[in-house]
């Protein structure tokens, strides 16, 4: 069955430090991969996506993610976090060619230390 795993429920980093949020997926075919961010009391905003091509994708707010097929991973990175990055981050996998259903990870809450 298709699944998405975000192994870290919470991550705390200092402002200015680098960040990596992990995402592993289980899916038989070429996946469509997404990272969304949810700020407190808000809906979800798309950070970046991977459909095909270059496995390193750039997103908004200085985030990037790398698709590694051999590791079934799509980890999100940022070289230097800002206090405004404190939010919850969700990884998702698109399932199927004609089905736009998304399989979601449980989310990782990012806490920024001043």
């Amino acid at each position: 069955a298709q699944s998405v795993t975000q192994p870290d429920i919470h991550i705390t980093v200092s402002e200015g430090a680098s960040l990596e949020l992990r995402c592993n997926y289980s899916y038989g075919a070429t996946p469509y991969l997404f990272w969304y961010v949810q700020s407190p009391g808000q809906g979800l905003q798309l950070l970046l996506k991977y459909f095909s091509g270059d496995t390193l994708v750039q997103g908004i707010k200085g985030f990037e993610a790398e698709f590694k097929r051999s590791q079934s991973s799509f980890n999100l990175r940022k070289p230097s976090v800002h206090w405004s990055d404190a939010a919850e981050y969700f990884c998702a996998v698109g399932a199927g060619e004609s089905n736009y259903q998304l399989i979601w990870g449980a989310g990782t809450k990012l806490i920024i230390k001043p």
């Binding site: 808000q42 809906g43 979800l44 996506k49 969700f90 698109g94 736009y100 998304l102 979601w104 449980a106």
Partner: protein
């Protein structure tokens, strides 16, 4: 509209009452999704509409939950005889391809 619009933004209801939550998707988007997000939890899929196809209702937790989408546009999620465990944020999203755009959600509190 410019984005996905959900109303109301907050709803407090008494246990046992029925509630209707509305989602107005981005114009032209053929797919519409409803999710539920309980406090501190991830996204729980509820229902998915795609064009004129029969909706995927596999995520609805009980027969108290139903949803419809009129004219391929606005959708209403109805919860009958609300229970306290229905308290959550209900998120709607729409898409015309693979990228889903989310509304701000409706926070439902059952007292």
């Amino acid at each position: 509209g410019a984005g996905v619009s959900q109303s109301p933004s907050n709803k407090v209801t008494e246990k046992g009452k029925d509630v209707e939550l509305r989602c107005d998707p981005i114009s032209g988007h053929t797919a519409l999704y409803w999710y539920r997000q309980s406090l501190g939890q991830g996204l729980e899929f509820l229902i998915y509409f795609q064009g004129n196809s029969a909706p995927d209702k596999s995520g609805l937790p009980s027969d108290r939950f139903s949803a419809e989408r009129t004219g391929g546009s606005v959708s209403t999620l109805t919860i009958q005889r609300t229970q306290q465990e229905d308290s959550a944020v209900y998120l709607c999203a729409s898409s015309s391809g693979r990228v889903a755009f989310f509304g701000q959600g409706t926070r439902l509190t059952v007292v």
